[in-house]
């Protein structure tokens, strides 16, 4: 039984409604160290809402989320301790517009006393190098393309040395020619052993990078499995229909 690596996140019977609309219905999921999980599914099926819960940007109605075995909403455990360890990359990049690239990356580690200023600066420069944007330290977000902004956003999330990284449709707001540069960075991260959950519409990317694929539909995980199982041998009718439209 213990052949599997450590569980980092356990989701138990998670439910959430917005008004009368139930977006998540009793979802359960275990995320293990080193997992790269791709979440696919039609628009409005609850994919984004699900991973926003993992970053405590939404409050569930029912169910539990355990991070390293601890309930993240348990009293006394401050949300910031969870967020410091779980990074998130947004569809719209959400860079801080009033700060330079370097300061965007350094802000959280320095303000939260994770690193000294010089440590954070060294780390930021290393990350910029990794995402291929050395030399852009003093640019402001508005001076960058969408693809560049998203690479900075990834570097910003990485600066906190998170245990898990969440991606909420990281390439959906990008021009087609910029999608590749962002996906390459995410792929590099996956290869380095980072635990990640990625909501995406890029099926080829999901196929090549994920070790597990979840198909969300109407607020539940309709089917899950390895990329081969999901893409080459789908069982659920809804999934078959979804894949046929996408391809």
């Amino acid at each position: 039984m213990n052949a599997k690596p450590n569980t980092i996140i356990q989701v138990q019977n998670l439910s959430k409604s917005f008004g009368n609309l139930q977006v998540l219905k009793n979802i359960s999921l275990d995320v293990y160290q080193g997992d790269v999980i791709a979440i696919i599914g039609p628009s409005g099926c609850g994919k984004s809402t699900f991973i926003r819960h993992l970053n405590m940007l939404e409050k569930q109605d029912k169910g539990k989320i355990l991070f390293n075995g601890k309930d993240i909403y348990e009293k006394g455990l401050h949300s910031r301790f969870v967020r410091e360890r779980i990074g998130m990359v947004f569809q719209q990049f959400n860079l801080f517009k009033n700060l330079t690239v370097l300061k965007n990356i350094m802000l959280a580690p320095v303000t939260l006393h994770k690193m000294t200023k010089s440590e954070a600066e060294a780390k930021a420069k290393e990350l910029l190098n990794k995402v291929g944007l050395s030399g852009y330290e003093n640019h402001y977000p508005s001076q960058l393309s969408g693809g560049q902004q998203q690479r900075i956003a990834i570097a910003r999330a990485m600066a906190m040395n998170p245990d898990v990284l969440l991606f909420d449709e990281p390439t959906s707001a990008l021009d087609p020619e910029m999608v590749g540069e962002v996906l390459k960075i995410i792929k590099d991260l996956a290869n380095s052993g980072m635990t990640m959950l990625i909501v995406t519409h890029e099926m080829n990317f999901a196929k090549s990078v994920a070790n597990k694929v979840l198909f969300f539909s109407e607020g539940i995980i309709k089917e899950q499995g390895t990329p081969q199982e999901i893409f080459e041998n789908p069982k659920d009718e809804r999934l078959k229909e979804f894949l046929s439209v996408i391809h």
Partner: protein, 496 residues
Amino acid sequence: MFKKIPTWAILFFSFAFILGCNDNAIPENKVFAVKDLAHKKVGVQIGNTADIYASDFGGDTAKIQVERYSKLTDAIQALSQGKIDAVLCDDQPAKAFLRQNQTLKILDEVFVEETYAGVIAKNNTALLDTVNMALKSLKNSGTYDSIFNTYINRNSDFHYTQKVKSENKLILSTNAQFPPYEFHSANGIEGIDIEIARYIADYMNRSLEIQDIEFDAIINSVNSGKADIGLAGFTITEERKKSILFTTPYAESKIVVIVRDNNKISKTESIGELLHKNFIKEARWKFIVEGLGNTLIISFFAAFLGICIGIGVSFVRFAHETMGGMKFLNTICKIYLAIIRGTPVLVQLLIIYYIVFSSVNVNKILVAVIAFGINSGAYVSEILRSGFKAIDPGQIEAGRSLGLRFRHILSHIAFPQAFKTSLPSMTNEFITLIKETSICGYIGITDLTRGGDIIRSLTYEAMLPLLAVAVIYFILVAGLSSCVARLEKRLKKNER
């Protein structure tokens, strides 16, 4: 475009100046006796007994159209410009005005006769007794006659100077626009009432402090304890007796009718003469300088206080809107905003002076700073709030997802951006603030506007003092605008 603005302003002010110099088409006088006042436009001072008499005049068939002015000087100016047909006022001030203004005359027929007395708070009978004894001693010692010879008969040069110097003060409320009873001169406020007050103060072994406020605010200031005694040519009336105590009468007066004199055509003064009369003579420019100083002090500190309050309130509201919580504080802020934005700033100023600080002797400039600061804070907070609203929620979420606490997000991300977007509206608010301080005269502060008013009350000349005041306000506002424009340019460097 920006460089052209001063040019346009100069054109505008010169145009106003030319219009001001051109005083033709003044209608002929048609009032020759008291009965002619029926259906005429007649100016009075608000709160003066002439107002009451004029309103009662003529029954329903021959009513007077009463025009009320807060200063007698304004009524006299309106009369000489032909805006009204006559002015009703006490005979001594009327004579004083006519010495300056040669184109007016007093009708021989007297409108009504009356007596003057001082006013003291309704409940303060002890002070009333003391003051009455002082007035008695004033008459018995012959000082009274000497004062009246100086001011009314103009055949002596006696002035009663105060002898007692004491920490203990007698505070006099008056309205120094009523010569010869009280008026501004190069030596400060002077007049019959002032010298009588000095005598009373000496008699009580106190030093005299003078408060120069609007005439209709004097009774209030005495009753609220802001002042001990009011001397401003008050006529005893039944109505006033209900709210105030009157001392024994110390002067008699007649209400007379002032009209334009058809035989005397106004002589035009040269610009040089006008400038000399309004600014150089008796160093009258000092009123403007003193007023400008107070306007600057009040505007600056009120703006500072307004920014502090505005930032605090907008933080609470922003926190409540993004995170929930702070419910109680948010409700308090909302009540504050509703009250401040729902009432005129003048009313707020008066409430703070007469009600909030009624029992404390507090510096009036400080009162104005507090009143305008609290007022401005409400507008600044709403301006900042709209700045906060303009920030896309994604940035706030990104901050939270990194583990940043709300105060970090506020200080590093949200506030700098909100401040920048709010800057143009904020400038607008401070421009308004500078101009709004022109109501400080209501609580007796000599601000820029009031400084110009004092000169007007001395020279009976409207154009130059008003234009000078307008030009100075304009320069202040233009200076502020260009400073902010520079700041905005610097902040813009953060972006493409």
